[in-house]
Amino acid sequence: MADLAQWFTGLPFSLAMRRIAWLFPLLQTVHILAIGMMLSSVIMVSLRLWGVSRTQTIAARGHRYLPWIWTSLVVLTVTGVALAVGNPRTLRDPALQVKLWMMVPAIAATLILAVAMRGEALWEKNARARGMAGLAATATLILWLGVTLAGRGRWMANLIG
């Protein structure tokens, strides 16, 4: 990570990010808005899998929100990498490393939901499968909320030591 930070610092883009004052808050704003679209899409999917809302088929719900989840993830990755290049010190931040590691199970859980939401017929009849789906949705939402919070968790490094 230290080597990566060093390499980032020398890149022309990194220099531009540090010179052009408004670029940083602009990218942060886009990043925050994309987190909003990601979390709301996960919540809307979860509401269906929890059975809070049954007005749409599970497949239709997935069809509506999963593309927004994946698009948000792409926007978040692009703006996130750009922000890290613009401020390479952040790579040494333990909270960022926690966040990146937490993204692995979060993406895996989202992929499992995405695949499972296609097998509709199986779900509607099987109460146990429905229960599992609800749990998977809860886990996915908690993981993405954790990723969101860790993104702003630098202060906790002082707390830990």
Binding site: F24, P25, L26, Q28, T29, I32, L33, I35, G36, M37, M38, L39, S40, S41, I43, M44, L47, V52, S53, T55, Q56, A60, R64, L145, T148, L149, R152, G153, R154, W155, N158, L159
Partner: protein, 163 residues
């Protein structure tokens, strides 16, 4: 009392001192505030995109509202609570912050837009609940989306001017 005098006094209250002098007060509030505002924006966007006729066209407007709005209000409550606490810590500085003032103005606009939509446009929702939304509803969706994007942006620029 002059507003600035009141804000100076506010900064000296024990609660405000915990926020401004405590080692983790501000950082912890800031973390929760941003997470809450992402949920507020995201859930409102789900409703606005339906009102605009861009997404969820196969879902009833009332059904989308019923699902999205409880989350929006809870997250908004958390955002206001953490926001007010952060404000007390450096009240005078926030008061003089141009981006912060714009953020409050846009929150006010978003609120007025919501009230107009809720008490006038939404009354006739039965007519367009499952169909294309009327111009007034689309306008409400567009204004809301624009306001909330600007609220997030000015929130970010508030911090940018502060430190």
């Amino acid at each position: 009392m002059e507003p600035v005098a009141f804000l100076h006094w506010l900064e000296t209250t024990p609660l405000a001192l915990t926020v401004s002098q405590g080692i983790f007060g501000f950082s912890a509030l800031d973390m929760i505030h941003i997470a809450a505002i992402t949920v507020v924006f995201g859930m409102i966007a789900v409703v606005d995109l339906r009102l605009l006729g861009i997404a969820s066209k196969d879902c009833a407007v009332t059904d989308i509202c019923r699902q999205a709005l409880p989350w929006t209000w809870v997250a908004f409550g958390i955002a206001v609570l953490t926001g007010v606490l952060m404000f007390t810590g450096q009240a005078v500085k926030y008061y003089n912050n141009y981006a912060f003032r714009m953020k409050l103005l846009l929150l006010l606009l978003a609120g007025i837009n919501m009230l107009v939509f809720h008490y006038i446009t939404y009354r006739g929702v039965a007519k367009w609940d499952r169909a294309a939304t009327p111009l007034s509803a689309r306008l409400a969706g567009a204004i809301s989306l624009a306001c909330w994007i600007a609220v997030v942006a000015y929130g970010r620029w508030t911090a940018y001017y502060m430190f």
